[in-house]
C-alpha cells in the first residue's frame, strides 16, 4: 500500500509539471500579452516598455521558471485589468465554487446511489423505469435550459427561491440541483450496473448461504464492492463540476471561480486565466489521486496490481 501510494504521488507530480508547462505556453501562443496590457492606442515605445517591465523580452524558459516558482509560492501576479493580486481575487471566490461543487456532487450521489441500487435490485420494475427516465432526462436536457426552467418555476412563478447571488444557503439550492443533476445519470447507471453484477456474484450467494440478514447482504457485501467505481467517477465529476460551474455560476450570478474565469477570458486577463487553469488542473489531479487511494483502501486487491 505504501509503495503504491508513493508511486501514485510521483505520477501525479509529473502530470502537474506537464500541465503547468502547457498552461504557460498556451497562453503565450495567444496574442502578444504586452499589446493587451498596453492597450490599443499605445505607441511602439510604450509596448516595448511594458514588455521590459513584465519580462516578456526574456527567454521563454526563464519566464516559465520564474512564473512557476512564483506560482508555487502563491504569487500569480496581478490582474492586468483589475490590477489586484490574482491570488486575492481567486481566494475570495474559491469558497463559493467549492461549496457549489461539493453540494452538487453530494446531491448527485444522494440521488443516484439509492436509485441505482433500487433499480438493480428489481431490474425492469417500475422503479428501474423511473430511474431510467430520470437518467435520460438528465442526459438530454442542456444544463443551462434546465437551470432557466427552474428559475422560471421556483424563482419567478412560485417565488420560493432567490434567483441571483450567493448570500444565503437558499441561493445555492437551484445551482446545486442544476449542476448535480448533470452528474446523476452517469453515476446512477454505474451504480445500477455495478450492483447488478455484484448481486449475481458468487460471494453474495455465499453471504445468503450464511443466513445473513438482507440488510447485511445488501449494504455490507454488495454495496461496498459496487460502489468502488462510483467513488472514482464521482471524484472525476467533482473536478468537472468545478470547471463546469462556469455556466451555472454565470446564470445564477454566483460570483465564484467559474464566473471569474468567464470574466477574465472576455478581458484576455492572462494571469487570472493561467492561475485558474493551473489551480483547477492541480485540483483535478489531486482528486484523481485521492480517489485512487480511496479505491485501493476499499478494494485491497487494487494496490497489489
Amino acid at each position: 500500500m505504501l509503495a503504491y501510494t508513493l508511486k501514485r504521488i510521483v505520477v501525479a507530480f509529473l502530470i502537474l509539471l506537464v500541465v503547468s508547462g502547457l498552461t504557460f505556453s498556451l497562453s503565450h501562443l495567444s496574442a502578444d500579452p504586452a499589446l493587451t496590457i498596453a492597450g490599443e492606442q499605445a505607441s511602439d515605445e510604450d509596448i516595448e516598455a511594458v514588455r521590459k517591465l513584465y519580462g516578456f523580452d526574456r527567454p521563454v524558459i526563464e519566464q516559465y521558471v520564474n512564473w512557476l516558482s512564483r506560482a508555487l509560492q502563491g504569487d500569480f501576479g496581478k490582474s492586468y485589468h483589475y490590477k489586484a493580486p490574482v491570488v486575492e481575487m481567486i481566494s475570495g471566490r474559491i469558497g463559493t465554487t467549492m461549496t457549489l461543487g461539493f453540494l452538487a456532487i453530494v446531491f448527485a450521489l444522494v440521488i443516484s446511489i439509492p436509485l441505482g441500487t433500487l433499480a438493480a435490485m428489481r431490474p425492469n420494475s417500475i422503479i428501474d423505469r423511473f430511474a431510467l427516465l430520470i437518467a435520460v432526462f438528465g442526459q438530454a436536457l442542456p444544463t443551462f435550459w434546465f437551470a432557466l426552467m427552474m428559475i422560471i418555476l421556483f424563482g419567478v412563478w412560485f417565488r420560493w427561491l432567490p434567483i441571483s447571488g450567493n448570500t444565503t444557503w437558499a441561493h445555492f439550492v437551484m445551482p446545486t440541483i442544476a449542476l448535480g443533476y448533470y452528474a446523476t445519470p452517469a453515476l446512477m447507471r454505474l451504480t445500477r450496473a455495478g450492483m447488478i453484477e455484484v448481486l449475481s456474484s458468487d460471494y453474495i450467494r455465499t453471504a445468503k448461504a450464511k443466513g445473513l440478514s438482507p440488510v447485511s447482504v445488501l449494504f455490507k457485501h454488495a454495496l461496498r464492492n459496487a460502489i468502488i467505481p462510483v467513488v472514482a467517477l464521482a471524484a472525476v465529476w467533482f473536478g468537472f463540476m468545478l470547471g463546469g460551474s462556469i455556466v451555472i455560476e454565470t446564470i445564477f450570478n454566483l460570483k465564484g471561480i467559474g464566473w471569474l474565469s468567464y470574466d477574465a477570458l472576455l478581458r484576455s486577463d492572462l494571469p487570472v486565466v493561467q492561475a485558474i487553469v493551473l489551480i483547477f488542473a492541480s485540483f483535478y489531479v489531486i482528486l484523481t489521486l485521492l480517489s485512487d487511494l480511496l479505491n485501493a483502501y476499499l478494494d485491497p486487491r487494487i494496490s497489489v496490481r
Binding site: D202, R205, A209, L212, K220, R224, N225, L298, P300
Partner: protein, 337 residues
Amino acid sequence: MSEKKDVVLEVDNLRIDIPVSAGLLHPVRGISFDVSRGETLCIVGESGCGKSLTSLAIMGLLPKNADRQADRLNFLGKDIRDFDERQMAKLRGVKMGMIFQEPMTSLNPSYTIGNQLEEVYLRHMSSNRLEARERAIFLLDKVGISSAGSRLGQYPHQLSGGLRQRVMIAMALMCGPDLIIADEPTTALDVTIQAQILHLLAELQSDFDMAMVLITHDLGIVARVADKVQVMYAGRTVEEGNCEAVFDKPLHPYTSGLLRCIPVPGKTQPGEKLGTVPGVVPNLVGDLNGCMFRNRCEFATDECKELAETPTVLENGHAYTCRLKPDEMEPSTGGRL
C-alpha cells in the same frame, strides 16, 4: 453406520421448473433422497444434470424465477417447503452449511478472512467478537490452515485456491451445522489439493457427526467417502443405493458407462484407453417422456421411448430406472472397482 437412524434431510419428488426463452425448462424432475446424521450421500452425474440446482433448492437459494415443488422437503423433522426468506435465513449458516464449487470467487474480496468467518457466528450465536474469533481460529486450525491467528487479517486474494476452499469449509462449520452440502468442492482445484480437501471433508464430517451431501462428478471420490450414492441423469435419479452395491454391480447403463471412465489402480494399464459415455445431455425444455438416456444407450429399443420411469427396487435398497433386468447388461460392462 449407526443402527438407529437420525434423519436430517428428507427430499421426496423434488421438481424445479425455470421459464426460459424456449419454453419451460425442467432441470430437476423428481429427485428423492434422505440423509441421516453421520452419513454421506454422494450425488453424481455429468455437468448440467441438475446437481447444483438440487442443492440450491434445499438451501432455498434458487434463482428468483425458478419454481420449486416437492412432495416432501423435511429438514430436522420440519417441513420447510413453505418457509419464507426470514425462516430460511435462520437455518442457513447455522443448521445447514454449504460449500460451493468456486472457491476463487465465493469469498468477498473486500473483507478479511476473519471478518467473514466471525460474521456468520455473530449473526447466529448470541456471542461477542472475542468468542467468534476464538471459534474462527479453532476452525481454521481444524481445516489445516497453519498460524490461524495471523490468517484472520488476510484478504482472500492473498490465499491460494486450496486455502480459500479450506476457509469456505471452516465458514460452513462455524455454527456446527447438522447438514453440510458440498457442491463439487474440488472441481476448481488441482489434483493433489483435491484429494486433501476431500479427506478433510470426510474427516470433519465424522468429527462433527454431520449429515453430508457431497456433489461431484468424480466417481473415484465417491468410492472412497460415500455411504450412499445417487446417480443423476438429466434431472432424474437413474440409480441409487449403498456405495458398495452400486459400485459392485451397476444396474443402469449410464452408471456402468460412468464407472468405465475412471482408471482403476493396478488394473488399468498405462496407455489403455478409458471409456467414455458418448453423446450429449438432452435438452430439457417442454414435455419429456420415456428414458432420457436412450439416445446414448447401447441397449436402447423402441420400448424406451414410452417407458414410464418407475424405479426397480432390489431387496438391499439398490434401485435403478431401466427396462433391463438386473442380469441383462453384459457382464463385461460391469464396474471394476
